[in-house]
């Protein structure tokens, strides 16, 4: 028999998790939006790529962790988390390959 109190605790957990999801999504987007204010348009794309290869990935990996946690805690939105996990995994692989063969990445060097 499911206790009513357990359902309330579970709902609270999901609400807390969703806030955590939005905060870490905001953090990730902010690190890409912030350079728009700081850098001229001519080198903006270049800066964004470098961010994606360094600190952006760090925030991305944090967001990945949040989404993995989401799969277990928030079953209703599971498909969204799976898509995000797939995207960040591809991003991570792209970053590793780019750093391994950086001298051949003509768009950067």
């Amino acid at each position: 028999m499911v206790n009513k109190n357990d359902i309330v605790i579970n709902e609270n957990k999901i609400k807390t998790f969703r806030w955590l999801f939005y905060i870490s999504l905001f953090q990730l987007l902010a690190c890409f939006i912030f350079p728009i204010i700081l850098f001229p348009i001519q080198i903006l794309l270049y800066i964004e790529i470098l961010i994606a290869l360094t600190v952006g990935l760090l925030f991305g990996l944090y967001f990945l962790g949040v989404n993995i946690y989401g799969i277990f805690i928030d079953k209703r939105r599971r498909p969204i988390y799976i898509v995000i996990i797939t995207f960040i995994s591809v991003w991570t692989i792209w970053t590793i390959i780019t750093w391994l063969y950086i001298e051949h990445m003509y768009y950067l060097t």
Binding site: N12, K15, T16, F17, R18, W19, L20, I23, S24, Q42, I43, Y46, L50, T54, Y62, W99, I102, E103, H104, L108, T109
Partner: protein
């Protein structure tokens, strides 16, 4: 009571997990990553060997010796080194950032081959010593911001197989006179390897493909 609100609880978890992650990253960096990145590609002998400019800074906080093997003679690598510089051939790293928006050169440029002691590589980076095809020392000058008085030296060694070991050593004593300097070093210490590794591999690719 406040922590019962889902948003505040999420914020608490967010900051707590970041603090744990940052502590873990700092431990990982100083326990293993820093030493690995400060000696990337270099042998123990190359790390301990004297290089020009070592006597200028005693016990620097940043002492990074990196090296790469190039399938060419030192004489073939040298022209690529002497043409390096801002608004010259670039630094062979992230062209748009270190060369005024222009990509680094993909060929040997004759007009930049007559580098001599006293010339500037960057607006505040001066050539102090050079021995053609063997070594070169660059010293950062006053006005270089946090890099003031740092040294950057290059050595080229011919290996038994007729190839070249290109060794780069960057040395700098950190100063913590302002919050800006502290932030600068916190960023530079772990990030500078990205540029230096790209420079060394950029030279290797250019020499070997030409």
């Amino acid at each position: 009571m406040l922590k019962q609100h889902p948003f505040l609880r999420a914020l608490f978890i967010f900051f707590r997990s970041w603090i744990i992650a940052i502590i873990a990253l700092i431990i990982l960096y100083f326990a293993w990553l820093r030493e690995w990145q400060m000696t990337w590609g270099a042998t123990t002998e190359e790390v301990s060997r004297y290089m020009a400019g070592d006597e200028l800074l005693e016990d620097p906080a940043l002492n990074a010796t990196r090296a790469v093997g190039i399938k060419a003679l030192p004489e073939q690598v040298w022209p690529w080194l002497v043409q390096m510089g801002y608004k010259r051939a670039g630094l062979y790293s992230f062209g748009k950032l270190d060369n005024g928006g222009m990509p680094s050169a993909e060929r040997i440029i004759p007009e930049y081959q007559n580098l001599k002691v006293g010339d500037l590589i960057l607006p505040s980076l001066k050539v102090v010593e050079m021995e053609p095809n063997k070594s070169m020392l660059w010293v950062f000058q006053k006005g270089a911001g946090p890099w003031q008085s740092a040294t950057w030296s290059w050595d080229l060694y011919k290996t038994n197989s007729g190839h070249t070991r290109l060794v780069s050593r960057l040395r700098q004593q950190y100063t913590f006179n302002s919050l800006q300097e502290i932030i600068t070093w916190v960023i530079i210490d772990p990030m500078e390897i990205f540029m230096m590794r790209t420079t060394l591999l950029g030279i290797k690719r250019r020499v070997e493909s030409n």
